[in-house]
Symmetry: C2
Subunit: 247 residues, 2 copies
C-alpha cells in the first residue's frame, strides 16, 4: 500500500459516448461508485411499468447493484433498481445506455443518455456503522428496565411471544395477575396499530383458552382521534410513552 492508493475520484466532463462507456464499464468492473449526469430517458418494467421522457438527471450506480436516478426534487429517486442487480453499459445510435437487471422478481431499468455531461468514478468502501437512538427497540428496553412506566405492578414475562397472529412486543401480567399484551410504537399511532393489537389479543385468548379477558395496552407517544375511538370499541388501553426519556 502506498500513498498512490489514495486515488481520488475520476471525472470526465462532456465525454464522447464511447469514452463515457469505457469509463463507466471500468468503474463497474473495479467496484467503484459510478455517477453519470446528463439528458436521458428512463424506462422501468417489472413489479410495475413506467416511462420518463428526456430530461437532465443524476444517475448513481453502486457496486452492490443499486441504481438511483435523481432529479432536482424529492428525497426519493424518480426511478431506481434495488441492490443485487447487474449493471450493463453499452452504446447504440450515438447514445449511452445503462441497463440494470435482476430476477425474482424479474425487473429491468434502462437509462438512455442522448447527452452525457459528466461521468465520475468514486473509490469507496465504507465500514462504519450508524448508531441510532429513539427506535421502537429503545422503547422496549425502557419499559423492560422500568416496567412501572407502563403501570404500577406490571411484570414483563416475555418479548416477541409468538401467536397465530404474529409476535407480541411484550407479554406480561398486571398487579392482579391478568395477562397483558403490550404493543409498542415509537411515534403517534393511527387505526392500524389498534387493529394489530386487537389481532394479538384475540389470538392469545384463543391460545390460552382464557376465561378471564386479556388486557391489551398500546404504548406510544400519542394517538389519533380515530384510533382512540377504536381503542374504546375494542376494550383496549393506551399509555403515553416516548422511546427516549425527557423527549
Amino acid at each position: 500500500m502506498t500513498a498512490s492508493d489514495h486515488t481520488g475520484p475520476v471525472t470526465l466532463e462532456q465525454p464522447a459516448v464511447e469514452t463515457a462507456r469505457e469509463t463507466v464499464a471500468d468503474g463497474i468492473d473495479r467496484d467503484a461508485l459510478v455517477t453519470v449526469f446528463g439528458r436521458c430517458t428512463v424506462e422501468y418494467d417489472g413489479r410495475a411499468a413506467s416511462r420518463l421522457e428526456a430530461g437532465d438527471r443524476h444517475v448513481m450506480c453502486k457496486p452492490d447493484g443499486t441504481t438511483l436516478v435523481h432529479t432536482d426534487e424529492g428525497q426519493q429517486p424518480v426511478n431506481w433498481q434495488p441492490p443485487g442487480c447487474s449493471h450493463e453499459v453499452y452504446c447504440e445510435d450515438d447514445a449511452l445506455f445503462l441497463e440494470s437487471h435482476r430476477s425474482t422478481p424479474e425487473e429491468r431499468l434502462l437509462v438512455g443518455f442522448e447527452r452525457v455531461a459528466q461521468v465520475s468514478l468514486f473509490p469507496i468502501s465504507d465500514s462504519s456503522d450508524l448508531t441510532l437512538v429513539g427506535t421502537e427497540e429503545d422503547l422496549r428496553q425502557r419499559i423492560l428496565e422500568d416496567p412501572g412506566l407502563l403501570e404500577p405492578g406490571f411484570r414483563p414475562l416475555a418479548t416477541e411471544r409468538d401467536t397465530p397472529a404474529g409476535a407480541i412486543d411484550i407479554y406480561g401480567e398486571d398487579s392482579v395477575g391478568r395477562a397483558v399484551v403490550v404493543e409498542l410504537k415509537r411515534r403517534r399511532v393511527g387505526p392500524d396499530a389498534v387493529s394489530q393489537l386487537r389481532r394479538y389479543v384475540d389470538a392469545l385468548e384463543r391460545d390460552l383458552h382464557a376465561d378471564a379477558s386479556i388486557r391489551g395496552i398500546l404504548v406510544a407517544p400519542s394517538v389519533t382521534d380515530r384510533a382512540r375511538g377504536l381503542l374504546g370499541e375494542h376494550d383496549l388501553e393506551f399509555v403515553s410513552l416516548e422511546p427516549v426519556g425527557e423527549g
Copy 2:
C-alpha cells in the same frame, strides 16, 4: 438566452476547504444540485438521533432542501434530510460542514468533511413527469370498467365512500342486492389488509344500521396463508385479480 446558458456541471477535485465552501455556497445560491464526495462524519438529531463515524461518502444537496448521504451500499441513503430544509455551509477547524435544518418537526443533519475529494454543481430543472402503470388505481379502473371481474352481477355504487374508519375503495351491491365493501391491493397481501377491510365492514354496518350482514371482499393478486385464515375468521372473501391484465 444564449448557447452559453447551456453550461454543464462545475467540478472541483481535491479543493481546499475554503474553495469548496465558496463553490458549494454558490451552487446552493444558484439552485444547483450540489454533490460533495469525501471523508466525513454525520450527525442527525430530530425524530430520532444518530451518529456515523468518519468514512468516505457521497453527499447530495438538492435545491428543494433535500440532503442525501450515500455509501457504497444500499438503495436507501445512510442518512438524509427531507425536502423543505435549509442548507448551510461553513468552514471550521480546517473542515467543511454541511448543515441541513428544518422545523416541524425540529431536526438537523450535520455533515463534517475532514477531506473533500470532489465538489460538483449540476444545473438541473426537470419538468418531465413519470407515467406509471400497475398501481392500485389501475386495479380500481379495471374493476369499474368490468365489474364482472369481481363476480357476476356486481354493481359498483361509489368509490372512496367515507366511513368513520376511513374511505372504502369500492362500495357496491351484489346480484341479490347485498351491500359489498371492496378493498384493493396491488400486490400479495398479509394480515394488515384483512384487518383494514374488517374495520371498514364494521364501520359501514354501524353507519347503515344494517340488519343483513355486509359482505367484505379483498381484491389482490394473492394472499398469505395467515391472511387467508384471518379472512375466514372474519367472514371476509378474497378475489384474485392483478392491476393489469395478462399480468
